[in-house]
Symmetry: C2
Amino acid sequence: MSTIEDVARRAGVSRSTVSYALSGKRTISRETRERIETAIAELRFTPNAGARALATSQTMVIGLFVQFFEDEFSPAMLQYVLPISDAAREAGYDILMITEDNGPKALERLSSSEMVDGVILLNVAYDDQRLPVMRKMRQPGSMVGLPREPDGFDVFDLDFAASGRLLMDHLAQRGHREVILITPREHVFERGGAYAWRFRDSALQQAATYGIRVHSFFGETQQPAVNRQLNEILDAQLGSAMIIHNDAMIAALPSVLYSRGIRVPDDLSVVGIFSEDFGRIFSLPFTAVETSPDKLGRNAVQALVRRMLDPKDAEAPTLEFIAPTIMDRGSTR
Amino acid sequence: MSTIEDVARRAGVSRSTVSYALSGKRTISRETRERIETAIAELRFTPNAGARALATSQTMVIGLFVQFFEDEFSPAMLQYVLPISDAAREAGYDILMITEDNGPKALERLSSSEMVDGVILLNVAYDDQRLPVMRKMRQPGSMVGLPREPDGFDVFDLDFAASGRLLMDHLAQRGHREVILITPREHVFERGGAYAWRFRDSALQQAATYGIRVHSFFGETQQPAVNRQLNEILDAQLGSAMIIHNDAMIAALPSVLYSRGIRVPDDLSVVGIFSEDFGRIFSLPFTAVETSPDKLGRNAVQALVRRMLDPKDAEAPTLEFIAPTIMDRGSTR
DNA sequence: CTGAAAGCGCTTACAG
DNA sequence: CTGAAAGCGCTTACAG
């Protein structure tokens, strides 16, 4: 690997001139610039990242914290990770991916060793243990998921409350008076997955205004429990429509419906909340609120990049709830 | 952020002594060591990663190259990424995740800027464009997937040839004489996904030794084409058993079978090749060869760590094919 | 058992 | 328009 010194010698200039040619931070005569450029090309020179980080206090790396919970359905995570990685690269950043169980400790380590210029937290919980660490570190952070005290950070999430209302409206308009609601597992509520109760509570409230009766269940996330529970719920014949806010349950639903000979929407109306990608992978024929993981991920990167570029800029942190949209796949009547 | 200088001053020693206390590379008197340790704790000191990398020429970061192809089913990728990330952390390394389309360019960039100590390539193709870059760089690499010329690298993959034979044996033993084989998409063969033909060709060859007739199809990977094709194939009633080497097709199969009233194994025997995790996520009730993505990922990390620790050690690169094992889920008779 | 100093490869005020 | 030099925060021979 050649260094900036090698380039300078070859081009017959000083190291500083090469550096400035690279950064464009001062004007270089055309002739000198060309000599430098050919030297760089011939030597295949790329600045050493560690040296540059040391000199500039910038690593051009973003720490991405991915959490996997037993009580959640893992395939959904990739839909956030890929757009984030792409958006980061477009902005000139690489992604250091952290999957450690001990998030706070890992955050502390990345921050104090200055390995990253900023971090993105995925799947943030209401009383997320990583938040206290975030408040103390000098690097900015943005997050997907709503914490109890979002102040000071750029927070992005789907508007789950509006989503719950929207789906209930959808069913109310079609005359449904008794609805089955399947939520995430109870444990998700307990450990502070705010999306779970934000969606459920608003759906229940909206149902009340319509006088709709709701039968609510905590859904399972692992087979064979998922199929067993779906069958039990269908056996009970509790309503003319179902709202499913649970990836594992809705992924398993088509085969259960088939096996029971239940036709959608003729025998039962079904709506859900999942991303277009997820729907395609699992061939889900259900009308649903689009969860837009790509948009959430890209927004998180964008906000973070703005803060990393201009740490002084105390521009008010954004708390952005993406408005839900319904993708009608014809599964209601 | 405090530096080693701050620690040294507070402990009343020199910077070098602090550094040696940290690395344990020379004996420090008990008293001095304790003063240093308390100073480190009080200041919450963590060595600056960039400075350390510059001084040692080691970043303690592994570059992980993840490729997503249109012709493949994406949810499977996570099963490799997570075990790799965990194994890397256990060995003291962080993961820089690269998802760029232009793999060779990204590899060049990481290597020449010395951002990583080594790389892992996932989903390697037969004539992978990243290989030529790998040969020129000074960092070691290991890979999952079989390239045309694996020499010089640590390569790990499932033994797909043995897998094809194993499944054909399984069906032959149960008396099947006419078998449907569904492979990856044709495009996977064309772009050099060696796992595709290694599996198919050995299955066909083994069938020939038994005198079994095989109807082979390139499977689709996107809905609604997947369901349509499955229905066409089932309509044709070509055999008493199916071998499916295609994640999207086998994930969609249960609902198609249900909708047609085909019972497994009474009406049709089905075997596949997928990981336990994948089977659980998609609730697949099919006997299958276990693809062991976690083992492959961990082995790749292990081999890479060995080489990173001891670059001189020209120990012969390993080409390891993991022996397939069948997980019997009772879907054959 | 410990310290002073060189060096890793950059960037950027300071000077001309 | 360009160069010499200090400095970023570590590690590690060299010396004692």
